[in-house]
């Protein structure tokens, strides 16, 4: 049972035991009520999770707490003392540290310079830097937060950059640490390390607020969890009294199937065959180092891996938007990898759909309307032509309306600009466009990045339906859960190479996590190329 507690009222009983209390926080942006009468109380020395779909108001709430926005109404209590937080400086003074989803680091500064920035002592830098160096050594020792103080940020891995963010907060004497989607960019091993760090911070009496959409992390790491939906706090529960299913239902407001229901694959003939695919970047560095695989009709090949290990280059090379060498055949026909014919349009005409990783950059033109976007890449299709000169906009609009209905795009207004849809609905526009074009092979990059849980469920169903219709699917995702639940075969990508193929039925997150880190000896039999 989910026990809905009015934490705001409870708090008055013993105010000093709470690190943070928010009472009746409301915030509107124009007509949009981002936060409505939010009450939350976080006991000191606990890890408190906040979950909710995109646009539920989590980020707004945290921005209010960090002084980015002023609440229209409500009260903030820090350690029982009413506190106003007009700017970030006040938040820092109140002992609040924030680790943003997109790190706020100066890329060409050293670790030390980033830590000192804004917390310098005196005009000359030297004293601040040497003091920070000492403090940093102590902190690294205390919390397993090892980073080289003189390393340049852009040379560090994402996991290390995140540690710098945490160190920044600790150096400023933060007692309350807010982490916004901290594991989105981490390998499973890095994420485990992060949670060990959080546990030791908690043991030292720090209070941690963890904002995430990953239910598993909430279940593993938090003491309490608050669920937000459409700007309101719908429940705060003890994590041990709850279950992922209940939390998902609270988030979405209806029952959600977390596991994708799919029958066994029924692989047909080989659709896409890739041999020794290589890609060099502009600096002549090889990003894809000889990748070979096959995908059959009616199967999903999942490519797992930490972002930046060549997955983007793989999609770009197959999609015809990046020069490559090697050989790729689609239904027996060789595809050009450079020169004429190596472009998205020719690929689409050959029967290859592509849902790109970055929908806002490659999938959509944000200022264009939904109907214009839904014809992108297919604007030469015969059904969209009125005559030799003009396109049939009425047909495109009607087509878009139909797609919007099928894919449940909200709001279903074809004339609305792409930028005015939420992330999930933008993705649905792209997914609808590519799936409805009925491709033989569909390339999918990060299908659910930044997409809320209801839309994730929908997109996953569509992918499986396409597979069951006998299409080949290449799925690239950094979300292991997604790879595991959708794929019929899994390949892990590390440093531009495929680290072998695994069967989702017999592998597990731990083994895939090791492969993602480049460890090949996982003492498991290879599931084989021709599964």
């Amino acid at each position: 049972m989910v026990e809905k507690t009015d934490v705001g009222r409870q708090a008055t009983a013993a105010p000093s035991s709470y690190a943070i209390e928010l009472k009746g926080i409301s915030k509107a942006f124009g007509p949009v009520q981002a936060n409505r009468d939010i009450n939350i109380a976080v006991p000191r020395g606990t890890i408190h999770g906040i979950i909710g779909e995109n646009g539920a108001g989590k980020s707004t709430l945290m921005s209010i707490l960090y002084g980015f926005y002023k609440a229209d109404a409500g009260e903030i209590l820090i350690n029982g003392t009413p506190t106003t937080i007009p700017d970030s400086q006040s938040a820092i003074r109140a002992g609040i540290g924030m680790v943003f989803q997109h790190f706020k680091l100066v890329q060409n500064f050293t670790v030390l310079e980033n830590i000192v920035l804004g917390a310098e002592e005196g005009f000359a830098l030297n004293t601040s830097l040497s003091k920070a160096r000492k403090a940093l050594a102590d902190l690294s020792h205390e919390y397993e937060l090892n980073v080289d103080p003189d390393a340049i940020i852009e040379d560090l891995s994402v996991g290390h950059q995140q540690r710098v963010e945490i160190l920044k907060a600790l150096y400023r004497q933060a007692e309350i640490l807010i982490l916004d989607e901290p594991t989105g960019v981490l390998t499973p091993a890095e994420a485990d390390h992060l949670f060990r760090i959080l546990a030791s911070l908690k043991a030292q009496g720090k209070t941690i607020i963890l904002i995430t959409h990953k239910l598993r992390e909430i279940m593993e790491a938090t003491d309490h969890v608050s669920v937000m939906r459409r700007g309101t706090m719908v429940a705060t529960v003890k994590t041990t009294d709850s279950s992922p299913e209940q939390l998902a239902e609270l988030m979405v407001g209806r029952k959600v199937l977390l596991d994708v229901a799919k029958g066994p694959a029924n692989p047909g003939p080989v659709v896409l065959s890739v041999e020794n695919l290589r890609v060099q970047d502009e600096q002549k560095v090889e990003r894809l180092k000889g990748v070979s695989f096959e995908i059959r009709a009616g199967e999903v090949l999942g490519i797992a891996g930490v972002a930046g290990n060549g997955q983007s280059e793989l999609l770009a090379a197959l999609g015809g938007i990046q020069k490559a060498t090697g050989s790729v055949t689609l239904k027996g026909q060789p595809l050009p990898l450079s020169g004429p014919g190596a472009d998205g349009r020719t690929r689409r005409e050959a029967g290859m759909g592509h849902i790109p990783e970055d929908r806002q950059l490659l999938g959509l033109i944000m200022d264009f309307t939904a109907w214009e976007n839904s014809a992108l890449g297919y604007h030469n299709a015969a059904k969209y032509q009125k005559n030799l000169l003009l396109m049939d906009n009425t047909a495109i609009r009607a087509d878009t309306e139909a797609k919007m209905a099928t894919f449940d795009v909200r709001p279903p207004i074809p004339s609305l600009a792409a930028k005015n849809f939420s992330g999930g609905n933008q993705q649905k526009i792209v997914v609808a466009r590519e799936i409805e074009s009925n491709p033989d092979i569909l390339l999918i990059g990060q299908p659910t990045r930044g997409v809320d849980i209801g839309a994730i469920e929908f997109i996953h169903k569509q992918i499986i339906a396409l597979r069951d219709a006998g299409k080949a699917i290449l799925l690239v995702s950094v979300e292991l859960d997604e790879i595991l639940s959708l794929s019929d075969r899994i390949a892990v990508m590390f440093d531009g190479q495929l680290m072998g193929f695994r069967d989702p039925e017999t592998t597990n997150e731990r083994e895939l996590g090791l492969l993602m880190a480049g460890v090949t000896d996982t003492s498991k039999p290879d599931a084989g190329k021709a599964a």
């Binding site: 970030s88 006040s90 924030m98 920035l117 310098e120 005009f123 830098l125």
Partner: protein
Amino acid sequence: MDYATLLQILDSTIRLGTPLLLACLAGLYSERSGIFDIGLEGKMLAAAMASGAVAALTGNVWLGLLAGIAASMIFALIHGLASITFRGNQLISGVALNFVASGITVLIAQSLFGQGGRTPPLEGAARFNPITLPFAEQVQGVPVIGPLYYEVISGHPILAYIAFLAVPVTWWLLYRTRFGLRLRAVGENPAAVDTAGISVTGLRYAAVAITGLLCGIAGAYMATALQAGFGREMTAGRGYIALAALIFAKWRPWQALMATMLFGLFQALALRPDVIEGIAGIKIPSAALDALPYVLTVLALAGFVGKATPPRAGGEPYVKER
């Protein structure tokens, strides 16, 4: 080419390089903070007119300098207002201010003095006159070094020495102080500065104000030291050459000194076609020398002289994200 000619050329290199150096350092502060400033030219021109006019009216060159700095800073603050407060396009604002400066300086000078848009010739206390450094006369006889000290290093107006002093000061500010750390940070990633609780707007206005100050000195040097009075369009593209030097120097102070002196040398050589003919054996048109800074800058931008990476947040107004 004999030693005396070399010394003459080096002397005019410093004379001609000084306004470039001041303007280049001016641009460095603004661009390091993330505000591109194509309006160095306009600020220099405004400062040249204001300093020339006030020096002519009062006969006091220091009042002229102050007026020049004030005029330049007004232009800088307008640029700040447009690009920081109102988040406008920095290039458009800079170009617009250049046009305004080009027109308004002639207009004001004409209405004040009625001499076809010029100020009356300045002399005496209305000009920055060359100062002779200590012992310059005495060591003049020492071979090689003596004439170098006397001819090249000594004998420049005080503003030139200020310009050279500004190089180590800028370096120290940029790399050894809290202000410099924040300034560099705000040009690279303003969000990092903002979340550290420092005002992005405040920092950028401070940088733009320093730009105005240095451009003001550069303009005053043009009208009251290099020349004896203001004439229309007298900056003659120096603001753009300074900008080119800034890119060539990759936004670093010591390299800015090197770049501006190199470009100053080209200008000095352009004035002495006989010397070039003597060395190269062929006649090189002075227009070719005038174009050299731009050619070198294009080469620098194209990556032939190492990689020139501008401050990453340059040119983009900072908007807090939700």
